[in-house]
Symmetry: C2
Subunit: 360 residues, 2 copies
C-alpha cells in the first residue's frame, strides 16, 4: 500500500524528486568526477537556485555539509573563541548548545518553557557573547520565533554574530537574511529531499571571525573550515567528494519551487496550517501544544494528545498516513505533523478529517 | 550517447545500483524517519553485510560518516593527543597529515618518492607516535602498499594505533583487519555507489584512547566523536539524520558482492588489472607509473603518458569511455583508470584495445 509521510523530516519527497532522480541516472550525474566541469555546473546551478529562492544578499556564501548537525559544529569551530549564547526552546536548540559545550565554549542560554519561545524583549545577553543562536522553528516542540524578533535581536545586538536555524522552515519562512550572519537548513524537511545534505549560509563577518581565530593560533577545523570551504567554493567545488546527488536534486527542487512561486508556496502553507490547527482545536483528543497563536509553527505542527499518541499514529497508519510521535519526553503525549510544500491541500484536508474521526 | 566511467571515483555505478534505487523509492526508504524501526533494520543489514564481506572481527565497530575526508578528521580528534606518524606516498596520504596539522598535532612522516611506497623494513617511527597512518592504496599515484607490510608494521609497532586507508581498495584488498585498529573507505570507489558516505571501522583500543583524551579534558569533537557514534550505533542509529539512501544502497551492493563471491571479484580484478598493465607496457605512448610490479595498484591504475593526457582522454571519450587525468602536478602527464568490481572484463578488454590504438 502506498503511504503518505507527514513525519517532520525525513518526510514525503517533493513530488518532482523521483523524476529528477531518474534523470540523474540517465545523465550520469552519479558517475561524474567531483572535479569535472560537469560537476561545477551542477554546483553553480544549485547555489544560484538557492540564492534566488531565499533572496540572499550577493556577498553571502552558500556551502554544502552533510547535515545541519555538522553545521552546528562548524559554526562553533569557526566563529566562537570563548562564549556563545543560545535561545533555547526545545531539544534541537539545546543540541546546538551542547555541541558548543563539547568544544569547551562557555555556552550560555536563556530557556523558554517548552512550547514557548524566548521573548525578544526579555533577552539578556552579555556583551562578551560572540554568537547568538536563534532557532526560528523548533522542530521538537513546534514553537516558532516570529520573523520580526530577528530584526529586534539584530538591532539590540549589532556587534554579535547571529546564527539562525531555519532547518525546518526554509524556504517557507520569509526571512531577511541580511539581518543574520549565518543561517542553515536541512534538505529533508521543507525541500522534500533525501537526507544527507546541510546547507550553510555565511556572510563575510563570519570569515573575518574565523581569520581572527586563526591569527590567535586557534584550531578552526580542517576540510570544512570556512577558509577551506571558500577555497573550493569559489570554483564551484567542495573540499571532499560531496553528496553529488543531493546537490543536484536540491538545485532542481529549488528551481521547481521558484517556478511555482515562493509566494504561492507560502500562501498554501498558511492555508494548510490553518486547516490542521482548526482540526486540533475541534478534536476532542487534541489541542495545539503551542498556546500562543503567533508562536505556532506553520511547517511542523505539534498537538497534545488526550490518548497515547501511538493510538492516533496507528489509526492514521491504517489510512496510509504516517505522522510523527512526540520528541523525547513527549513521545507518547504529542503528535507531530509536517506541513511541507510537497504536502497537497487535498491530502492535508483528508488528514484533518481523519484526525477528527478519532474519538476518546 | 551512453558513457562508461573508468574514473577513479566517482565512477561507473555498480550494475545493480539503479534497480536498488528504484526499489528504495518504491519502499519509501527516502521518507522513513531515521529514528524508526524501519531505518534501524536497514542500518543493521548494512553493518552486517559489510562485517561479513570484509570478515571483520566481532568486536570491531562500523560507523557511517559523510566521507573518508571526514574520517581523517575524526581519527585525529579521537585518537591523537600530540603525535601522529604518516607513511606518505601521494596526495591523499599527505592530506591526512595536513588535517592532523590543522588540529595542531605534531604530524611526522616518512615520504616515498611518488609512484613508490615507504618500505616497511625502512620505517623509523618514534615510540612517542600515538598513531601510524598507512595508505594501502594511494589513489593519486596508483602505488599500493603490499598487504604483508601491514603485518610487518603491526609486529614492529604493537603499541601504536594503526589506521589503514582502504578508500579505493576495499573490498578487493584482502586485509586482515585484526592487524589494524581503524580502517576506512569511501563508497564511490570499488563499491560503485553514489558519493556521500564514508565507512569507519574502529576497534576498542580506539575507544579507550578517546576516553583517555576525554579524561584529560581534551576536545574529541561532538556529534561524530567515538562515544557519540557508539551511543547511537548500538541502537543501529546515527547521531545526525544520515544519508539514508547511501546506507541502504551500501547494504544492498555489499550483499550482491557477497553473493557473487569476494574471491571471484578478487580474481576478476587481478585478471582485468593484468590486461590493462599489459596494454600500458605494449603501448608506445604509455608506461606504468609505478615501476615496481608488487607496488602496482590493482584497482586504480596510473600510467605515464608520452603525449598530453588530455589527448588520450579525448580520443577515448569519442568511444564513450571516460578515464581520469593525472592528479595534481601530474594532471597532463598521467592517465588514471579505475578497475572496480563493476567494470566488466569485456569493457576492460575493449578499453585496453582502444588504448593500444592511440599512437604517438
Amino acid at each position: 500500500m502506498r503511504k503518505f509521510y507527514f513525519t517532520p523530516g525525513p518526510s514525503q519527497l517533493y513530488y518532482t524528486v523521483e523524476e529528477h532522480m531518474k534523470n540523474a541516472l540517465k545523465e550520469n550525474v552519479l558517475s561524474i568526477s567531483h572535479r569535472s566541469k560537469d560537476y561545477e555546473k551542477i554546483h553553480q546551478q544549485t547555489i544560484e537556485a538557492i540564492r534566488s529562492l531565499l533572496v540572499l544578499p550577493n556577498d553571502y556564501h552558500i556551502f554544502f555539509t552533510s547535515s545541519a548537525t555538522e553545521i552546528w559544529e562548524r559554526i562553533i569551530q569557526n566563529t566562537v573563541e570563548a562564549e556563545s549564547f543560545h535561545l533555547i526552546n526545545g531539544a534541537f536548540s539545546r543540541r546546538f548548545l551542547e555541541i558548543a559545550e563539547n568544544y569547551q565554549i562557555n555556552a550560555m542560554s536563556q530557556v523558554a518553557e517548552e512550547g514557548k519561545v524566548v521573548e525578544a524583549e526579555e533577552l539578556l545577553i552579555p556583551e562578551t557573547a560572540e554568537l547568538i543562536a536563534v532557532t526560528q522553528n523548533e522542530t521538537s516542540t513546534g514553537a516558532s520565533q516570529p520573523i520580526d524578533d530577528i530584526k529586534k535581536i539584530r538591532k539590540a545586538f549589532p556587534d554579535q554574530l547571529i546564527a539562525l536555524d531555519v532547518v525546518s522552515s526554509a524556504p517557507y519562512a520569509n526571512v531577511d537574511y541580511s539581518m543574520v550572519d549565518t543561517a542553515y537548513f536541512s534538505v529533508q524537511k521543507c525541500f522534500g529531499l533525501p537526507a544527507g545534505l546541510g546547507v550553510w549560509i555565511v556572510n563575510n563577518r563570519c570569515f573575518q571571525k574565523a581569520q581572527s581565530l586563526m591569527n590567535k593560533n586557534r584550531t578552526i577545523g580542517s576540510y570544512h573550515s570556512l577558509p577551506s570551504l571558500l577555497e573550493k567554493g569559489i570554483k564551484n567545488q567542495t573540499p571532499e567528494t560531496p553528496n553529488v546527488l543531493g546537490v543536484y536534486l536540491l538545485g532542481k527542487v529549488a528551481t521547481d519551487m521558484a517556478n511555482k512561486g515562493i509566494d504561492q508556496i507560502r500562501r498554501e502553507t498558511e492555508y494548510k496550517a490553518a486547516v490542521l490547527y482548526q482540526a486540533f482545536e475541534q478534536s476532542e483528543i487534541l489541542q495545539p501544544f503551542v498556546t500562543s497563536e503567533v508562536h505556532r509553527s506553520k511547517t511542523t505542527l505539534v498537538a497534545n494528545t488526550a490518548i497515547p499518541s501511538k493510538e492516533i499514529i496507528s489509526k492514521l497508519s491504517e489510512k496510509s498516513f504516517v505522522i510523527g510521535n512526540g520528541y523525547g519526553k513527549f513521545k507518547d503525549k504529542h503528535i507531530r505533523i509536517a506541513n511541507f510544500p510537497t504536502h497537497s491541500k487535498e491530502h492535508i484536508e483528508i488528514l484533518a478529517d481523519e484526525l477528527l474521526k478519532i474519538k476518546n
